[in-house]
């Protein structure tokens, strides 16, 4: 018979795992497909997230390039890596419970900050519609990006941090109240 703790763990984790995999799948089109096309005075260009960052860098806007890089590439990637790590650790039967719980709190916190790109494209597309002078259109990549961010948030949400603290049959290696410090 399956041990109740293991059962609880596997049930809880499969939701998070499925959503995290879905988020990882969506990150591929989000990064290789164009997210925005701009047309200024008849000069048109379409950009993926990465080419946009390179473009900003080439134009000398190092600060903005760095912000976009962190918000659009680094954070989503780190979030997914962190989540994967949490899930694998929890499946194995956790060891560093306190550190993992902190990681979970951090992931939960930064989740809401990675919609910067989607916000930017939506905002600019609505605002910059000057006909022949300048227009900005969202492209399909931004949808994939938004989906990836939403799925990561859902996955973090589905991950019940209590799984990290479930007592195994052979007893906990760390007492529950150790985190209160």
């Amino acid at each position: 018979m399956t041990h109740p703790a293991a059962y609880l763990r596997s049930r809880n984790l499969s939701r998070a795992t499925a959503l995290a995999i879905a988020a990882g799948v969506m990150l591929v089109p989000a990064n290789i497909l164009p997210v925005v096309s701009t047309r200024t005075g008849g000069m048109a260009r379409t950009d993926t997230i990465f080419s946009g960052i390179v473009g900003l860098w080439d134009d000398g806007m190092f600060g903005i390039a760095a912000i976009v890089f962190v918000a659009s590439i680094l954070i989503p990637a780190l979030k997914l890596v962190g989540l994967t790590w949490l899930i694998i650790a929890a499946r194995r039967g956790p060891t560093h419970r306190r550190a993992l719980t902190r990681l979970f709190t951090a992931l939960d916190f930064i989740g809401r900050w990675s919609m910067l790109d989607v916000f930017l494209v939506g905002f600019l597309s609505g605002l910059v519609q000057f006909g022949a002078l300048a227009t900005i259109h969202p492209r399909i990549g931004i949808l994939a990006f938004a989906a990836a961010v939403v799925l990561t948030v859902l996955a973090t949400d589905a991950f019940d941090s209590r799984v990290l603290w479930i007592e195994d049959k052979d007893g906990a290696r760390e007492p529950l109240n150790a985190s209160a410090a």
Binding site: M1, S10, R11, S14, R15, A18, L19, I21, A22, A23, V25, M26, V28, P29, I32, L33, P34, G41, G42, M43, A44, R45, T46, S51, I140, G141, L143, A144, A147, L151, A158
Partner: protein
């Protein structure tokens, strides 16, 4: 008392419904990528002497006024003799990448015979193409400037042989009774440099006006005559004043017209017209058979006046 049935405990865990989500994500993501790459055609490289105004991801390739590709990369040739422009074609334009295709960079051009590429003042340069007919190719030599004229292939081309080019330039008009019926396409020296060969193209509805005994003369520039009776200034049209022009007439001698001149017939280009030539009035049907359908015969009181 009956004992309750022993519960059967399945060792197999059923797959939770949530695993549908990654499958859907895979399907949607795959479709998105497929949709994007479906339109991608081959990548070609064009060599230009000068890449002024060509920028990666901004400069487009246009054919018949429609964007059919985008420049992906521009780099200097290793021996510094020119630039290499790499270009991604749209899939439906893949047929343009054939041997013999001509590529040139369009810059704004303002001349007496017209204004061309003016929009590139604002949009930056763009690349135009005239498709080739050879085998599929991926490396091309770009032209330094636009080919003499858009060779539409319509109408009929003829060669005129002249002592000197005069003021004729590509795009100059060809007149029949001072009506523009064609254009000058190119000019070159003949094989032993004793004369100039000028290629003209007469547009479709007028091709039958050119007969094998037609006479061509230079109608460009101005003629100025000063005599005791006064001064006389003559020019065929303002356009031909600057870019030169060619006029022709077809003799009406006898009942039978000479046969229509075939493609590529060579005529002599005279310096000016004989007075007789200007009086010729041959009757030539100019509506080609394959175009305009036969108009219905007019009925009513005017009918007898119409000669058919």
């Amino acid at each position: 008392m009956t004992t309750p049935a022993t519960p059967r405990i399945s060792r197999r865990r059923s797959l939770p419904l949530v695993w549908v989500v990654p499958l859907i994500a895979l399907a949607i993501g795959g479709w998105m990528v497929f949709r994007e790459f479906r339109h991608r055609g081959p990548e070609i490289t064009i060599e230009f002497k000068d890449g002024k105004g060509v920028e990666p991801r901004k400069t487009t390739l246009e054919y018949q006024g429609v964007t059919v590709g985008t420049v992906t990369d521009v780099e200097l040739k290793q021996d510094l003799s020119g630039v290499l422009v790499r270009l991604r074609l749209d899939k439906n334009a893949a047929a343009l990448a054939n041997d013999g295709a001509q590529f040139w960079i369009v810059h704004p051009e303002i001349g007496f015979s017209g204004v061309r590429g003016l929009e590139t003042l604002f949009t930056g340069a763009r690349i135009n193409v005239r498709p080739g007919k050879g085998a599929v190719a991926s490396h091309f030599n770009g032209l330094d400037k636009a080919p003499a004229l858009e060779d539409s292939g319509e109408g009929r081309a003829f060669e005129l042989e002249a002592d000197r080019l005069g003021s004729l330039s590509p795009g100059a008009p060809v007149f029949y009774r001072e009506v523009k019926v064609g254009v000058v396409e190119t000019s070159r020296l003949n094989h032993n440099a004793t004369s100039v060969l000028i290629r003209i193209r007469v547009q479709t509805p007028y091709v039958n006006l050119v007969r094998i005994n037609s006479r061509f003369w230079n109608a460009g520039g101005v003629s100025f005559k000063l005599s005791l009776l006064g001064a006389q200034l003559k020019s065929t049209s303002l356009e031909s004043l600057f870019s030169g022009g060619v006029a022709f007439a077809t003799p009406d001698s006898g009942r039978e017209l000479a046969v229509a001149a075939p493609e590529g017939t060579v005529f002599t280009l005279h310096n000016e017209a004989d007075k007789d030539w200007l009086k010729w009035q041959p009757r030539i049907e100019i509506t080609p058979v394959e175009e305009a359908p036969e108009p219905p015969l007019p009925r009513g009181p005017l009918a007898p006046l119409v000669k058919r």
